[in-house]
Structures are given as structure tokens and as C-alpha cells.
């Protein structure tokens, strides 16, 4: 039982690090490219919530939207790779992925833009979202990550 539990923790840790890796890379690439903007992605939003995404592309809002997007990506990336405050990271990740999913949902009848595969209702954004839910349920920072030091070392020191 204990051995199985350890295997599960190892797998979830790997999942956490890979998702963190993915988010961090996206965030860093955008951060170092001052000309990057989510304008095109939002302007072409489809489905029941397109009005919401179209609202975000105004002159006054687009700069904020871009900055918040980078910050959110980095928060997920850093918490997941370092293994600390990962439940906060998971919530941010779920929110971000939900927005990505709803902006271009793989619903029948909508044109799938800039996708490399074929999807019906479920796509990779949604799968990654569910993976973030797993990370939220099973935090592994204490097993591998900064949380290990925070919980074990700093606490034992206090005692």
C-alpha cells in the first residue's frame, strides 16, 4: 500500500513538474518578447463566450490582459517547478486553462483554429485543466520541492 502510494506520488510529481515546465516556458517566451500580444487569439474567439473575449481587446484593456496572462503563466510555472504553494498555482492554472478553452472551444460547428489535431468537446487545454485539479488534490511539494524544506526543516527547527 505504502509502496503504491509512493509510486503515485512520484507520478504526480512528474506531472506537476512537466505542467510547470510547459507554463513557465510559455510565460518566459512571452515575457522576453515585448511585441507579443494575445490580440489575435482573443479577436478570433469563437463560441458562446466570444463577446467576452472580444471585450478584452480594447486599447485600454489589452495591455493589462497581456501582462496578467504572463504573470499567471509564470505563477503556475514557478510554483509547479519549485514545488511550493502549488495549490495556489493549480487554481490559477485551472482558471487560465478554462479561459483558453472557452475562447476557442472544440465544439461541433466551430472552425478549429491553429490546432494540430482533431478534437470533439475535449481538447488538450481541458485535459491539462483536469491535470491541474489532480495537482490541487495531491500536493507533492513536500515530497519533492521547496515545501519539503519549509514543512520539515523550518518546522522542526521551531520545535
Amino acid at each position: 500500500m505504502n509502496q503504491n502510494h509512493n509510486k503515485l506520488k512520484a507520478s504526480v510529481t512528474l506531472l506537476r513538474i512537466f505542467i510547470g515546465w510547459h507554463f513557465l516556458f510559455e510565460g518566459v517566451v512571452k515575457m522576453y518578447n515585448p511585441e507579443w500580444t494575445s490580440f489575435g487569439y482573443l479577436a478570433t474567439a469563437q463560441g458562446p463566450f466570444d463577446w467576452f473575449f472580444n471585450m478584452l481587446i480594447g486599447d485600454a484593456t489589452i495591455g493589462w490582459v497581456d501582462t496578467l496572462n504572463i504573470i499567471a503563466l509564470m505563477v503556475v510555472g514557478v510554483t509547479f517547478t519549485l514545488g511550493i504553494f502549488e495549490r495556489i498555482g493549480a487554481i490559477v492554472g485551472i482558471g487560465l486553462l478554462a479561459l483558453y478553452f472557452l475562447a476557442h472551444p472544440p465544439f461541433p460547428g466551430l472552425t478549429q483554429m491553429n490546432v494540430e489535431g482533431n478534437y470533439w468537446l475535449i481538447n488538450k487545454n481541458l485535459i491539462e485543466l483536469v491535470a491541474c485539479m489532480v495537482i490541487f488534490q495531491l500536493p507533492t511539494g513536500q515530497y519533492f520541492g521547496l515545501d519539503y524544506l519549509r514543512k520539515h526543516k523550518l518546522k522542526t527547527q521551531e520545535q
Binding site: 513557465l24 518566459v28 522576453y32 489575435g40 479577436a43
Partner: protein, 538 residues
């Protein structure tokens, strides 16, 4: 506190991962930007800025509209006046399709300092719609029975002419002679002779004359000019432009109004210089299909493409033109061709060369059109060093055998299938090596032309420029000289198709080289069986 190696490995194991990913992300971003800026630096292209025109101050310009058909309504909307019928139609269209933003765009259009004061339309229904839509209790709009009455009334400062082609020149000349400003639709004349008369009238008039080639306002064309002038494309030897339409509206089979009758239409006035034929609704509403009133593909649509390129290259009138084609898709009684290929030769023209001096010179402008197929063929300028696709968006691809880019191609800093420059006035910035994403969005036409964040109608900009020149002086972007080039080139194409032979231009004498026994204007105007009439061919 004791930290073992194991503790550190478990606790800080994520740090090297974070560092590696961060480094890789930064290197990717900075590296591609460096490659981009190296290319952009070498090209040194300056994207054009939105036009800044001095304001239209003082008293409002008093405008009379001559011709309130399909185009007349569009021009009036560009001036800021839409009929209630149109607004209602657009409101319903927007409910049905939320992406239809035409009403919203119209309502957010900047107000111009103009006043509609008169209408001249020989179809009662249209004249009445105009008056009912735009008359107010303070400002009554007056209906004039003839264009002369309107122009000579002293009550209009400027006229907008959107009539069949055969009326363009007579009306423009009358207005210019009375110092009334003119905005006339293309083509600016219907015959070769008129083109000279109109030029003289414009030169001798104090009024401002503008031809309705609104695409001269398209933001990308200024940038395209800079691209060509910087030698980005090398020597351009071939230009391909196209028209592809495949619907009734595109083939000029417009709706015939139910109230049209000899009682509601002044048929005599419609005919003007055209052959006297009995009242014919088909001719009245679908005049573009007959040479007597219109000029077919060469006058209607080739003129757009020719002027677009003349605006970018300033290549002027071709040395010779050959055209061929026929009535292949709409054999419905029309006598203008619905499929046409026009080759214009510019043997002495060059956009510059990256090769040995004297090796490259001369260019062909090829216009290819059909009204029986809607496949989108882009406009391309084909040079020795690069190819440019010209539209609202510009894309430049290096040529695999380019001399100018040989070193960069060799070093694989450029690839023939990857654009080296892309310009989109809707995008936030110019893009050198375009990503698949931006390429995709742009190709789909999902980005629009924005000026300061607002989608703008180029016809509005064109009219605003004309009105500004009326008030402040200056030069319109499509005036008499540009119109002269456009009209002569279009007439050469029409003549070549009709005569089945090459038409040549003598640049020194500024005239068409005569063909013995042929009166060019008689040929242009002739409707049926023009080639069988002995007095014409001699």
C-alpha cells in the same frame, strides 16, 4: 539546523529545472528577435502612418449628389448620411450575424463638416428616398431635374457624381467650368476624347477635382511604396492582378426596382449621348453590361487594380496594351466581356536592379479576370530578389535565386518559403519572420484595417481628404493626372479587346498611336456589331 545532501536534493531539485526552462525560453525569444531585427535592419522598411489631414473648418461644404444608386448611397454614407431603410436593414443583419458591424462602424465614423443640399437622380424613387432621409425642418433638400440646373444654381459648393460612366465627363466638366468641386466615380471618362477635355477643364478650374479611387487611402500602399523604393523586391518584371467573382451582383445583374417605369424614370436624360433605344429597365439598372453606358471589366474593375499599382509604382500609361477574352459566363444579352486578360507593357520601367547594370529593364502588368469563378487570387509583384503580395496586408518572400539576399539565404537566415517582412495595419507591430499563428490569422482575413484602434472605411478617408483640400488647399491623392493615367490605360484595354489588336501609346506626344481608318472613340462607344460597321473600320 542540519541540512543533508538528501534534503537539498529533494527541496531544491526544482531550481535547476526552473533555471533551465527560463534560460531556454529567454534564449528562444531573444534569438528569434535578433534574427528578425537583423533582417528588418537590412530591409529598413518604414511602415506608413495614418494620413493626417487638416480639419474641414468654416462653413459646412454644401454638397449635391448626382446619382443615388448603389454607389451613390455608399458615397453618401461615407459623407455621414445613411437612409433609414439601410439602417434598419443593417440593424436586422447585425441581429442575425453579430459579426456584421457595418451599422456600428457607420455610427462611430467621424462627422464631416458637410451639408447635403441637393439631389439629382432621374429615378423618382431614389430622389424621394434621398429627400425623405436627409431633409430636416431647418434644411430642406432640393431636387434638381438636371445636373446643369444643380451645378448652375449657385447653391452647391461641391458635387458627388455616381452615375453611369457615359455621364462622368460631361457632368465633371460642367461642374469644373462653374468652379464647383467634383468627386467622380471611376473610370473618370467614357471615351479617349473626353479624357483630354476633362483634363483641360480641371487644369483651368479653381475647383478641386478628385477621382473615386478610395484605395489610395489604404494604409499598406504607402508601406508598399517604401518597400519597392528601397529595392526590397529587386527588378519587378511581372505584376499579376486579378478579379474573381461568381455571383449575380458581381456580374452586374443588379435588382430591378418594382416602381421603375417610363413615368418614374427620365429615360431621355439617362441615354444622353448613348444610342436612342426605347425605355429598357435592364439597361437602366444594369448599365454596366453595355458599352453605350459602361466600360465593362476594363473600366469597372481593371481600373481599381491599375490605379492600386500606379499608386505604389507610379509607372504611368503603358507603352502598349493587348487584351483578349469574351462573353463566356453570362451570355445574357450584354456586350461587355465577362472574361478578360489584359497585358500592359512597360518596356522602359524598372524598380531598380541588384544585378549587372542594364541586364534588367521592363515590366508586364497582367490583369486577369473572370465573372465565373470566385477563387481568390492575390495581387503579386514578382521581382528578382523577392515577391510581394499586395493587399490590406503586405507579405514579402525572398526569392531563392536572389542576388541581394544570396548571403543570407546561404547562411539560412532567410528561406524562400518564410516571409521576410509582413505588414498588417491591424497588428500591433510589423513582423519579419512570421509565426504560423499570425500567418494563419492574417490569411483568413481575420484582422482588419484599423486606424488608432478603429476600423475605418477607406471611402470615408478619400472623401475627407477631398473636403480638406477644398477648405485648406493642397493636393488630393487621386486627382486629374492620376485619373488621366487610369482612364487612358482602361480605354486602351477596352479598345484592344474590341479591335483584337495591340493599342500603343506615344509618350512624347501624349496620344494613342493612330490606327489607319479607325476612330477610337467610335469603337469604344459602339454597342452591337461594332466590328461590322464599315464607317468605323474604314
Amino acid at each position: 539546523m542540519k541540512w543533508t545532501r538528501r534534503d537539498l536534493l529533494i527541496g531544491l531539485g526544482g531550481l535547476p529545472i526552473l533555471g533551465a526552462v527560463w534560460w531556454a525560453g529567454a534564449a528562444t525569444s531573444v534569438g528569434s528577435r535578433k534574427k528578425r531585427s537583423e533582417i528588418l535592419e537590412q530591409l529598413n522598411i518604414k511602415p506608413s502612418m495614418p494620413p493626417a489631414v487638416p480639419g474641414i473648418g468654416g462653413d459646412p461644404v454644401r454638397i449635391g449628389v448626382i446619382g443615388f444608386g448603389i454607389r451613390g448611397e455608399q458615397l453618401t454614407r461615407a459623407l455621414g448620411f445613411a437612409t433609414d431603410e439601410w439602417k434598419e436593414e443593417m440593424r436586422l443583419a447585425a441581429i442575425e450575424d453579430p459579426n456584421n458591424k457595418r451599422l456600428e462602424d457607420f455610427e462611430s465614423q467621424e462627422r464631416l463638416n458637410v451639408k447635403l443640399v441637393g439631389i439629382c437622380d432621374i429615378f423618382d424613387v431614389r430622389a424621394e428616398t434621398f429627400i425623405n432621409s436627409f431633409s430636416t425642418t431647418d434644411d430642406k433638400i432640393k431636387r434638381y431635374k438636371t445636373y446643369k440646373e444643380m451645378i448652375q444654381s449657385g447653391e452647391v459648393d461641391a458635387v458627388v457624381i455616381a452615375t453611369p460612366d457615359h455621364w462622368h465627363a460631361p457632368m465633371s466638366i460642367e461642374a469644373l467650368n462653374n468652379n464647383v468641386h467634383v468627386y467622380v466615380e471611376k473610370p473618370m471618362t467614357h471615351t479617349v476624347g473626353e479624357t483630354y477635355t476633362l483634363r483641360e477643364a480641371a487644369e483651368n478650374s479653381d475647383a478641386v477635382f478628385a477621382v473615386g479611387h478610395q484605395h489610395r487611402q489604404t494604409l499598406s500602399f504607402g508601406t508598399a511604396r517604401d518597400i519597392v523604393e528601397k529595392g526590397t523586391l529587386g527588378h519587378v518584371s511581372l505584376i499579376q492582378t486579378n478579379t474573381n467573382r461568381n455571383d449575380d451582383n458581381g456580374a452586374w445583374n443588379y435588382d430591378i426596382h418594382e416602381k421603375a417605369s417610363p413615368e418614374t424614370i427620365d429615360w431621355e436624360q439617362f441615354l444622353g449621348s448613348a444610342p436612342k433605344v426605347p425605355f429598357n429597365k435592364n439597361h437602366f439598372f444594369r448599365w454596366r453590361k453595355w458599352w453605350a453606358y459602361g466600360s465593362g471589366l476594363s473600366g469597372d474593375l481593371l481600373t481599381h487594380d491599375y490605379d492600386r499599382l500606379n499608386c505604389v509604382l507610379n509607372m504611368g500609361i503603358p507603352a502598349s496594351v493587348s487584351a483578349s477574352g469574351g462573353i463566356y459566363t453570362h451570355n445574357d444579352g450584354r456586350n461587355v466581356p465577362d472574361v478578360i486578360q489584359v497585358n500592359m507593357e512597360f518596356p522602359d520601367f524598372s524598380t531598380g536592379s541588384s544585378q549587372t547594370k542594364g541586364k534588367e529593364k521592363g515590366m508586364t502588368f497582367c490583369y486577369s479576370a473572370t465573372l465565373g469563378n470566385g477563387f481568390n487570387r492575390p495581387t503579386v509583384l514578382m521581382g528578382h530578389d523577392a515577391t510581394m503580395e499586395l493587399g490590406n496586408r503586405l507579405t514579402v518572400w525572398p526569392d531563392g535565386a536572389s542576388t541581394r539576399y544570396a548571403a543570407m539565404l546561404e547562411a539560412e537566415k532567410m528561406r524562400p518559403d518564410v516571409p521576410i517582412y509582413q505588414y498588417d495595419p491591424a497588428g500591433a507591430a510589423t513582423d519579419a519572420v512570421s509565426s504560423a499563428t499570425s500567418q494563419y490569422f492574417a490569411d483568413k482575413g481575420l484582422m482588419w484595417t484599423y486606424i488608432d484602434g478603429v476600423r475605418v472605411d477607406s471611402t470615408f478617408l478619400h472623401m475627407r481628404e477631398w473636403l480638406s483640400v477644398i477648405k485648406n488647399g493642397g493636393k488630393v491623392s487621386c486627382g486629374i493626372n492620376e485619373g488621366f493615367d487610369e482612364a487612358i490605360s482602361a480605354h486602351m484595354a477596352g479598345l484592344s479587346w474590341k479591335l483584337g489588336r495591340r493599342i500603343e501609346w506615344d509618350a512624347a506626344s501624349q496620344t494613342l498611336k493612330p490606327i489607319e481608318g479607325i476612330d477610337f472613340d467610335q469603337v469604344l462607344l459602339a454597342n452591337e456589331n461594332w466590328n461590322l460597321q464599315p464607317e468605323m473600320v474604314g
